[in-house]
Amino acid sequence: MSEITTADYIAEAKKALNNPVLQSALADLQNRFGRGTALAYRNLPEGPDLRLKAHDIRSKTIENLDVVLETLVANIRKNGGQVFFANDAEAAVDYCLATARRHNVKLAVKGKSMVSEEIGLNSALIGAGIEVTETDLGEYIIQLAGERPSHIIAPAIHKSRKDIGNLFADKIRIPYTDNPPSLTRAARKALREKFLAAGIGFSGCNIACAETGHIVTVSNEGNIRMSTTMPKVHVAIMGMERVAALLEDHDILLRLLCRGAAAQNMGTYVSYIGGPRYLQQVDGPDEFHLVILDNGRSRILADEEFREMLYCIRCAACLNVCPVYGKIGGHSYGHPYSGPVGAVVMPLLAGVNRFKDLCQGETLCGACQDACPVNIDIPRLLLALRAKLADGDAGWQVSRASITEKGVYTLWSWIVQNRRLYDFFLRLAALGQSFLPKNKDMLRWLPPPMSGWTRGRDIQPVAGKSFMDRWRSGDMD
């Protein structure tokens, strides 16, 4: 797992809220992609309900993942590809390093891949003395800046054109410009040299096709095609769930993926890659490797309550509508998997207690589910995680997050189930509040531990007579 900073969730969120450049970038992103995606779903010939069908396809695939994966790898091997099953991040990284070393690779190029962020591939390559270049423009920018992606599809959304201009002037030694086309051209030139010199290209996989034996990559820039065509070796890394059984499933999944990710009918480049170059072919890699990664996914698979999260195809549509992501940005989540998807995936992959702020920080508003191309019930999953935190769960090694909270709620549930006790506390509160400062009819201040509530707003006082009392006395005006 790459470096995780989720302990700073609250501090990072505060920083993000006080960063006006980030706030306007996030608002702009959500305005365009959030709305664009909703419109794109409505404009589907089948309408937005196609997402329900996609949910069924994903469900059927995941329920038969063993058979689907066996078919996928048998077909890939038939086409001359090599397959490795990695139980965890370390095994995946070791395989990638061994492959690179076998070919004496000095320079590696990478297409944007969330799973490679998950396994921390870059730092491992650098540690082994192999230069690695991110080739998606957004990823390239943040790699030069020594930062991490703040959005799955738009990794450098937090950087202004001035930031990028200064960065390029400093790191790739071009005269300062903040003109987006000039900056893009400068990166195009610098990266072209890398593509042509690299000995190995790494990519992710958006959604493989088992029956034909192909992985599929989607990009708008063409960097993934470059990374998978020009170097001698191509290594694709995929989470074990990123596969469909049938080619006709792709008809639905690809269209929804492109709409979810960027409100597009189709990404500029979609490549089905099924093996290395054949003998008589002119170009393409000599070797094709597919690394299939578990890294905690089989544990999610084993729990029927959370299995649905494996339907996710990492399009980032949920980030583009989430009111929480839209304010605190991707860095607060402490890991490249951010937004609602990160708030479910990270606790499940890397520890519920450790990532508790993520699933407790979301609002349960349900916008993520409406935006999800495969209609994952993210609010349900967030609630299930919170239930684990409230009660603890040995199977997931979750310890109770707050004993006080549990105590308070146990007490509360006991009180509200006992009418007389409840009335007693109501009357006590009605009496007690007369000593509190007021603003017109509202209470301005509550004593600790409730003082947090009135820090920024007033609260309605408890009525002098409860509804039940008024009902009984016939005083219903």
Binding site: R32, N64, D66, V67, L69, E70, V73, G80, Q82, V83, F84, F85, A86, N87, I141, A154, P155, A156, R161, I164, P180, T184, R188, F195, A210, E211, T212, H214, N220, E221, G222, N223, R225, M226, T229, M240, A245, L246, L247, D249, H250, D251, N265, M266, T268, Y269, V270, S271, Y272, I273, G274, Y278, L279, Q280, V282, D283, G284, I292, S298, A302
Partner: protein, 259 residues
């Protein structure tokens, strides 16, 4: 010996799903998709398109190409396409060096354009991305590949054909064959694709039906690399401003021949 760790990995998935870990499960209809009659209907529809329907499809392609900045140009025959390409090459400057050169697939449709003749007066060489097989030793093949690669990298325009063009998404569909380098549609600054109007199909559904079930098209299957190209390379990574030509071609032209 299984060095891929497959057996242990798949066993873990089986037990996560509640099945016996070490017993292989049957596919149980998992890989049976559309019915034969539905596939038949799709293939029939493609084969029996009337001229009006074909015209509508071309119209739809042009409509869908516009917002993604894909240039679709409809012309009659190879000589008119060759002349149009010659004009384009006259107009466009090369991006990386001063010498203009073209890389092109070995393909009957491109041969019919006779590009070397059309470009002779501009002194623009046309390099065909074909391995000349003097002998079949891998070392000499490797030399040939290097030669072709250099030509493609040095070219500012790449000329390809395509297997199909999907109207609904304005996507060229390209499969990989000897003589038809993948890099020609990727590395040069400008990509030109020459197709015939009959190669236009509606959408993904038709494409998948053809390459899986049409007797002719399915013989090759998807090949080891099938690519959809929907417009020029683009990025919006600097303050969400759209810029063309991130890594792939900055302009794409599709010439559709109707004769």
């Amino acid at each position: 010996m299984d060095t891929s760790n497959q057996a242990a990995f798949i066993s873990r998935i089986r037990s996560a799903l509640g099945h016996t870990p070490d017993r292989q499960r049957p596919a149980n209809g998992l890989f049976s998709g559309r019915s034969a009659s539905e596939i038949g209907r799709i293939l029939e529809r493609i084969k029996n398109r009337t001229d009006t329907e074909k015209k509508q499809l071309l119209g739809r392609l042009i409509e869908m190409a516009e917002p993604i900045n894909l240039n679709v140009i409809v012309l009659k025959d190879p000589p008119s396409v060759a002349a149009a390409i010659a004009d384009l090459i006259r107009d466009k400057d090369s991006e990386w060096g001063s010498q203009k050169s073209v890389a092109a697939w070995k393909h009957p449709m491109i041969e019919s354009l006779d590009l070397p003749a059309a470009l002779a007066d501009q002194n623009v060489p046309v390099h065909i991305t074909e391995l000349k097989e003097n002998d079949t030793a891998e070392t000499s093949r490797e030399k040939e590949r290097k030669r072709v690669r250099k030509h493609v990298v040095d070219s500012y325009i790449g000329v390809t054909s395509a297997d199909y063009c999907m109207a609904e998404t304005a996507s060229l569909v390209i499969r990989t064959r000897p003589g038809q380098a993948r890099s020609v549609s990727l590395v040069p600054s400008i990509h030109i694709a020459v197709i015939h109007a009959d190669q236009i199909i509606a959408d993904l559904k038709e494409l998948y039906a053809l390459i899986q079930w049409d007797p002719e098209a399915s013989a090759e299957g998807l090949t080891n690399c099938m690519t959809f190209i929907s417009g020029p390379s683009k990025t919006a990574d600097v303050e969400a401003t759209m810029v063309h030509g991130a890594h792939g071609p900055r302009e794409v032209y599709v010439y559709v021949m109707t004769d």
